[in-house]
Symmetry: C2
């Protein structure tokens, strides 16, 4: 891998980076057990294995002092009343932060610590979100029409821990209720 | 300092962050010895101690795993034929990268390693620049009218080393020549 500086562009409206080392597609079938409404999940999956989100990764050596970067695109949609979202993860090296810059769309970042502190921050174009070290994070698209598109950067040695979240999800869910978008407690969530 | 996640906005057109912990203003008088044309520098300074660039910093604990972030604004102008620019620096912890996202304006990032490798990358709105570990970096505004505005993030333990650059400047200069913007060798620059 070259150690020369480099630039890439995030051209609107599609915001696919002009340099991509890896493209991840997560479909509904890869999100088993993540949405609260299991019946709605099964019904949707029987019809169509929908594309939920994509990540375009720009790679670097996975050592301290470097960053990994990319663009995350969460498509609009719901499983039952729950908005489409990423799987979400802790960093394997827990004490590493992440920076997000929202390029398009609207939504939320749902976050929590291993001790059960929870935090949900709104994302709109032009907002920078700082996820401090030790906070798991999942992005949620709440627009009916538009993708939620964010640029992200995090320490290259951080790694991903998906397992902890897969067991019981996040403490907070983002759902469409009678009065619009609501942030509600996850009934499956318990402190260890 | 709170360890809760937080967001801030970078509202156009002024792009001053909605959260600021520190505001740095660098005027012409703070740039002594940085521009090649010393006579033009003295003449301009005698008339007006012009504001060359500003940095709005968002602070975090300066430990590994955290990021420092901010917005850099380089104003348009020239000293002699050389465009306004930041002082530029190596990171004190040399092996730490930096990520820039260009929000407004146009210009260049001038970069070099301690071994004398040089690299100049163009910045336009929507471009992401990756400055790998070990590369000193200085941003240069080449618009006649508009500020060069970039958002940046770098490892919080990185620190700044300005001294190395102050001695002889960068290897490359960005100047206005007869044919427009030119990237030329710095006659004062020598490998140690």
């Amino acid at each position: 891998m070259s150690d020369l500086p480099f630039t890439f562009n995030l051209p609107l409206p599609h915001v696919v980076p002009s340099r991509v080392d890896n493209h991840i597609e997560r479909r509904l079938s890869a999100m088993r057990g993540q949405f609260l409404d299991e019946a709605a999940y099964q019904e949707m999956l029987a019809q169509d294995d929908r594309l939920i989100y994509e990540v375009y990764e720009v790679k670097r050596p996975e050592v301290s002092g470097e960053f990994l970067m990319g663009v995350s695109i969460v498509h609009p949609g719901k499983v039952g009343s729950e908005f489409f979202m990423t799987k979400g993860h802790f960093h394997q090296v827990l004490a590493t932060a992440e920076v997000y810059y929202c390029l398009r769309g609207e939504g939320y970042m749902v976050m929590e610590t291993p001790e059960g502190e929870a935090c949900v921050e709104a994302l709109i174009p032009g907002s920078v979100l700082y996820v401090p070290p030790r906070w798991a994070h999942r992005s949620v698209c709440t627009s009916r029409l538009e993708d939620l598109v964010t640029f992200f950067a995090y320490p290259a040695e951080a790694g991903h821990d998906y397992g902890t979240i897969e067991q019981q999800g996040f403490r907070k869910l983002v759902v469409e209720g009678a009065d619009g978008i609501q942030i509600v407690d996850n009934p499956r969530w318990k402190v260890d």
